[in-house]
């Protein structure tokens, strides 16, 4: 019951203290730069000068490397193998694997793409690890995002684990009344039907009550909303966002100029 759909790790670091929007900019800038930079070694370099330092400065190194080893590296590794083997690039064959030729070009190509994926997923991982979802949403609301939209995002993050728990309860209740959950795959697919009914219709009925509850607490009030937590937005944030935008523009410009 205590689980929630959030990767946020509460720490006291410079990265945690940044404005949430700055971190979104940082994530998007990293992604745009690795895909637009004309220089081959950009993604590799960024791992060294951005991803690893960010993990250490943000004090989420341990969590980050755990995610990287379990999730990001296997995915990037798989991509690397697929592209190295199946990309029909170049003539310079390094070795043959039955009928598959692995050339130096396809290796280079695959290595870069794997690194791109690694940087991209890592950048998102940082954003999620160091930014509290409700902080991000209230900052965006302050900047003009409709409150209803923010509510939908945050409540979904919270309610999904609750629905998961409820599904478990329904399954347990039905098993205790003799529903077979340990037989063949096809049979278990059939089991989904008695589960989905109560889960979906039950949730729909709850929506009305929840709407009443938040309405009773002024959700649609026309007054200007305030926020409980002050979200930091310093000169440093503004400067950093400016620098990031410039870097992205530079990268795109170089890409266009050199092509």
């Amino acid at each position: 019951m205590h689980e929630r759909l959030s990767f946020y790790v509460k720490r006291d670091s410079i990265i945690h203290g940044l404005n949430p929007l700055t971190k979104v900019y940082l994530t998007l800038a990293l992604i745009l730069i690795i895909f637009t930079s004309p220089w081959y070694w950009t993604p590799h370099l960024l791992v060294l000068i951005a991803i690893i330092p960010l993990g250490l400065i943000g004090k989420v190194g341990a969590e980050f490397f755990k995610t990287a080893i379990r999730l990001i590296l296997p995915a990037a590794g798989f991509l690397f193998l697929m592209q190295a083997f199946f990309q029909p690039l170049g003539e310079d064959v390094i070795f043959k694997f039955y009928f598959l030729d692995v050339t130096q070009e396809s290796m280079m190509f695959a290595f870069r793409n794997a690194m791109r994926v690694f940087v991209m997923v890592s950048a998102f991982a940082f954003l999620l690890l160091t930014t509290h979802p409700s902080e991000l949403m209230s900052d965006l609301t302050r900047r003009g995002l409709p409150g209803q939209f923010a509510y939908v995002i945050i409540s979904t993050l919270q309610i999904l684990p609750q629905m998961q728990a409820k599904a478990q309860t329904i399954i347990a209740a039905q098993r205790s009344r003799g529903l077979d959950t340990e037989s063949s795959f096809l049979k278990r697919m059939g089991l989904l039907i008695p589960l989905i009914g109560p889960l979906v219709f039950g949730s729909l009925a709850e929506v009305e009550e929840r709407a009443i509850a938040i309405e009773a607490r002024g959700f649609t009030s026309k007054r200007t909303r305030t926020t409980l937590h002050q979200i930091p937005d310093t000169k440093f944030d503004t400067t950093l966002r400016g620098v990031l935008i410039l870097l992205v523009i530079l990268s795109i410009a170089l890409n266009l100029w050199l092509s």
Partner: protein
């Protein structure tokens, strides 16, 4: 002029055949603590929705008569303004958690944020409300990690913090243990003494008898009986109409038939029963 004034209120939901509320006339004074009792389907919840503005602003249906709170007519107001004066907490605590907040403190602040209360004042008011309902130690917990009774307290606190003039409660203690129930009733009593008007739907007759100023017995959408708790809750009319009586009332009723209960009036609470049987 009564603070709450219902005149000939009749209401029918879109998909029901008969009216859920029929010709309700009800006046409540400022600072009065009124309790509503009645069997299932009597229209208790609909009455709550009508007072809190959700009938007719949220539920569409046929309405006639008038609902007036603090001199304002409901049909001439909007729901978002109405809820500034009237607070509603209902039975199922799980669905009253906004889902937008990660701690109890933030959850309680939700209504104040929505209605534009300045940040410093929010903190003061939430702290005060947490102390009032005695849940300060839950402030940093996730609202979803709490027990049903604790969640009900959070739901009640979330409404109290908005300082409504009229507080409407639909079975706010249904998942609480006796100690929790007593605390909630005494908090509400305190609020009423401070000038807040309270309408509370409740099944726990002993508690009503101890704390409420007046009881309204609702049956099939009509007011069957109203008056002082001890008179209404012991009346034969209630027993004949399928209302749940307190166990002390039922016992004394049976005892009276056997000639064991000598007093004129039946008891509602344990104390009254003990006194009555002693004599």
């Amino acid at each position: 002029m009564a603070f709450v004034n219902l005149q000939n209120l009749t209401y029918k939901y879109q998909f029901t055949k008969t009216p859920v509320l029929q010709n309700i006339n009800l006046q409540i004074q400022e600072g009065e603590f009124v309790s509503v009792v009645g069997p299932n389907g009597a229209g208790k919840s609909t009455l709550c929705y009508a007072l809190a503005g959700f009938v007719p602003h949220f539920f569409k249906g046929e309405i006639s008569g008038s609902i007036e709170v603090a001199g304002v007519e409901s049909s001439k107001s909007t729901l978002d303004e109405w809820v500034m004066n009237v607070g509603l907490a209902f039975q199922n605590p799980f669905n009253q958690i906004s889902g937008a907040k990660y701690t109890v403190f933030e959850e309680i602040a939700f209504g104040l944020e929505n209605t534009g209360v300045p940040r410093d004042e929010i903190k003061v008011r939430v702290d005060e409300a947490l102390r009032l309902t005695d849940i300060t130690e839950l402030a940093d917990r996730s609202p979803y990690s709490l027990s049903g009774g604790q969640q009900q307290r959070v739901a009640l606190t979330s409404i109290l913090v908005m300082q409504p003039k009229l507080l409407v409660l639909d079975e706010p203690t249904s998942q609480m243990d006796p100690i929790g129930t007593r605390e909630v009733f005494s908090v509400i009593r305190k609020m009423a003494e401070g000038g807040m008007t309270v309408v509370m739907v409740e099944h726990k007759m002993e508690w009503i008898a101890n704390f409420a100023d007046r009881v309204i017995a609702l049956k099939d959408g009509q007011i069957l009986l109203e008056g002082k708790p001890n008179e209404v809750l012991t009346s034969d009319l209630l027993a004949e109409n399928g209302f749940g009586l307190s166990r002390y009332t039922s016992t004394a009723r049976e005892a009276k038939k056997q000639g064991l209960w000598k007093k004129e009036n039946l008891p509602v609470t344990l104390d009254e029963a003990v006194k009555g049987f002693k004599k």
